[in-house]
Amino acid sequence: MKFVIRRFKDDKSFWQSFEVPVKKGMTLLDGLFYIRENIDPSLAFRASCRMGICGSCAVKVNGRPRLACEAQLSKFKKEIKIEPLDNFRVIRDLVTEFEGFFAKHKKVKPYLIANTDYENPIEQLQTPEELKKYYIFTLCIKCGSCLSVCPSSATLESSLGPAALVSAYRFNADSRDRGKEERLKIVSESFGVWRCHSAMECSEVCPKQIEPAKAIQLLRRETLR
């Protein structure tokens, strides 16, 4: 199978092809490691858990963002085009700058705001029904796929983007949280929920099927109350 990769070195971008032998069950990430270990040790890409839980390996495969470790090579044709994620500045080859992404996440106060005792913590009760309300939004692995396909985030750098807004909703919907007002104030600014124009691309590409678009709409309704 031919891997056609868009590389980036010393401010120059160029395409390079590699031939990778394919075995049954091999993933795209296995292919990238094969290239690094046997053909070109300088191929830079992020990877860690290889089981779809760390979010390091999101790359654009044939035009769509995927987690490299979850893409089975048997499902592709003879040639695969691999590029770094859109809407991120490229550092080297397939490695992109994520500081901005995490800064956006930090902006929405993505932590539980409640009156708790550090030295002598007490169990807070939460029923399974209350847990179900927000649980799916806790599954975000911060891979960046949603941000790379969001058209609004592409045109305005300061947009919070789907992942940060999902985080904000996750805490607002948590029955133990008391910080809803604070967060709503932040996300109802012009770069927050109102940047969403329902392109729905984020929900299409999320590897954990979280449906960020839904979370954003639910968050938006909260800001109107």
Binding site: K9, G25, T27, F33, R36, E37, N38, D40, P41, S42, L43, A44, F45, R46, A47, S48, C49, R50, M51, G52, I53, C54, G55, S56, E70, I91, R92, D93, V95, E97, F102, K106, K109, P110, Y111, L112, A114, T116, D117, Y118, N120, P121, I122, E123, Q124, L125, Q126, T127, P128, E130, L131, Y134, Y135, T138, L139, I141, K142, S167, F171, R176
Partner: protein, 568 residues
């Protein structure tokens, strides 16, 4: 300084942004908001290996349980090599850590009445494993990371690769790391350093670990004169998915799954009739491997395997308690555990050994602390019980943070020697990687050697062969190449340095295993199959010398429980 090396000043530097590292940072920031904390890690915090933890965290939360019982389970599970004073301290801290995480937002799975749910796990006599679906590590890490965003005095230095510690007069002065983005060497001046860099799983080929877990902190501490303890004890988890090695959590068996050989029998009946599949991991792993060696396993294109049968649990239970492993099995193997059994095989999973610390995470070097998997207190002794590690990271992460904070009260100023700065630059940029041996080939051969001779069943000849091979690989490593001349995000440099760390650690593991002429816990010698408490109720300490590791032995601390036969 032609590579642009810069110096960063901080009060406490934490290396490693996993559960232990981040918990230490929270502990410091909660007590003191003026102390500057730098968290230095080779990946972003939420990409750490701790996110892969699945099963749960054990703690005594309910009246039916007791600290003594948790401690006894842990000590018996460790095959009596655990230091009992440390274990007694540890079990009393676990409940508070679980509740703290809950207070910070961790989505623990709940009972219908709203209390935190607990499930059965191997080796525990009471259901005390707290869990968040089957992604416990993932949720714990995200909760800790998000909590850390609250504190202004904690700064993340993500994608900084540790290369060396600066120690003078047996006192820590700081450390050096490569900033991956620019490729420059950066020095951190710190009054105290906490190492929380994780285990050394990638020594092996068939392992549950992430690609980045190469034992960096352990190897660097070792080279700087800090002894490594009990490195020969490597845990093999019974159920790793074939062929990727992805972990099928112990909770599969905790929720009622069965292990079957090719005749469909639940073979654990023969080895642990009382606990069956919920015997401790070393017992189950040995049982499975015996079935494989004696020809009672299935044969597949990736080698022999056994079956993990979850089909009788029903779709609802699996979706609620084991959703991630179902997703993984379908995604990576196209097998639905609701319909068919999963192909599994014992897989390397945990490093019981590590940097020698006492109960307060102190190492022999003043100001240097170690917590989590990279440290060995020792809580887990010769075999770790499931769900004890995640909570150990939390308990000792907190201890390390508070100890470091107390330590720096008496430290006025630190200074990194000019010589150190110059030598480190030369070592990294001028000396390594001038040959033309592919470091990845060396790593692959190391993996093959470890998989063969340092696996579940070991013997003297195999270990001697392993040591010989490791020496050969170290020779070849001196001729390793770095096939990338661009500094920015130079992964070739990283890979080469990592292989160097792994070779040092492999040597300690192999020699320690050869010298320990008994079988205990996860270390099983076919030529010495009995446990020998008279001679070997001691910890192995390995010190670095140019000619190879020098070994000393430290007696185990016994307080309450005298060693007895370990039967399940």
């Amino acid at each position: 300084m032609h590579y642009g090396g810069s110096m960063i000043d901080c009060d406490i530097a934490i290396v490693g942004a996993g559960l232990a590292g981040m918990r230490a940072a929270v502990a410091i920031a909660e007590k003191n908001s003026k102390v500057s904390v730098a968290i230095i890690a080779k990946t972003y915090p939420i990409r750490c290996h701790s996110v892969c933890a699945e099963g749960g965290s054990a703690a005594v939360l309910r009246k039916e349980d007791s600290f003594d019982l948790h401690a006894w389970d842990t000590v018996k599970g460790s095959d009596f090599l655990a230091d009992q004073d440390a274990v007694e301290f540890f079990v009393r801290e676990c409940p508070k850590e679980i509740l703290r995480l809950e207070n910070w937002g961790c989505p623990w799975s709940r009972n219908p009445d709203g209390t935190i749910a607990q499930r059965a796990f191997g080796g525990h006599s009471v259901n005390r494993t707290v869990f968040a679906a089957d992604r416990t590590g993932f949720h714990e890490v995200h909760t800790l990371y998000e909590r850390l965003l609250k504190y202004d005095n904690v700064e993340f230095f993500s994608e900084y690769f540790l290369t060396n510690l600066a120690i003078e007069d047996n006192r820590i002065q700081g450390l050096s790391a490569i900033e991956l983005k620019t490729g420059n060497l950066v020095f951190f001046k710190a009054k105290a350093v906490i190492l929380a860099t994780g285990g050394a799983g990638r020594l092996y080929g068939f392992t549950t670990y992430s690609h980045q877990v190469t034992g960096d902190g352990m190897a660097i501490a070792y080279r700087c004169g800090v002894p490594l303890k009990d490195m020969e004890f490597m845990q093999f988890h019974p159920t790793g998915l074939v062929p990727s090695g992805i972990l099928m959590t112990e909770a599969c068996r905790g929720e009622g799954g069965y292990l079957r050989n090719k005749f469909g029998e639940r073979f654990m009946q023969k080895y642990a009739p009382e606990k069956m599949e919920l015997a401790p991991r070393d017992v189950v792993a040995r049982a499975m491997w015996k079935e494989i060696i004696e020809g009672r396993a299935f044969e597949g294109e990736h080698g022999p395997y056994l079956a993990l049968d979850l089909t009788h649990l029903g779709e609802e239970k699996i979706e609620q308690r084991l959703p991630m492993i179902r997703e993984a099995a379908i995604k990576f193997l196209d097998i639905d555990p609701v319909e068919e059994p999963l192909p599994v095989k014992p897989v390397q999973h945990y490093t019981m050994g590590g940097i020698h610390t006492n109960m307060f995470t102190e190492t022999p070097v003043k100001g240097l602390f170690a917590a989590g998997e990279c440290a060995c207190v020792s809580i887990h002794g010769a075999n770790r019980l499931g769900s004890n590690s995640t909570v150990e990271c939390l308990v000792f992460g907190r201890v390390a943070g508070e100890m470091a904070l107390k330590y720096i009260e008496n430290v006025k100023d630190v200074k990194i020697n000019q010589e150190f700065l110059k030598e480190e630059e030369e070592r990294i940029f001028d000396k390594i990687g001038k040959g033309n041996e592919n470091p990845h080939t060396i790593k692959r051969e190391l993996n093959e050697t470890m998989d063969k001779h340092l696996w579940i069943f070991r013997n003297g000849d195999g270990l001697k062969e392993a040591i010989r091979k490791i020496e050969e690989l170290k020779e070849r490593y001196s001729q390793a190449s770095i096939a990338d001349d661009c500094r920015k995000f130079n992964v070739a440099l990283l890979s080469t340095l990592e292989v160097g760390y792994m070779l040092d650690l492999a040597e300690v593991v192999a020699m320690g295993a050869l010298l320990r002429t008994e079988s205990r816990g996860a270390h099983y010698r076919l030529d010495y199959p009995e446990r020998n408490d008279k001679q070997w109720l001691v910890h192995t300490l390995a010190y670095y010398t140019r000619e190879g590791p020098r070994f000393e032995y430290l007696p185990v601390t016994i307080t309450k429980w005298k060693p007895v036969e370990r039967k399940y």
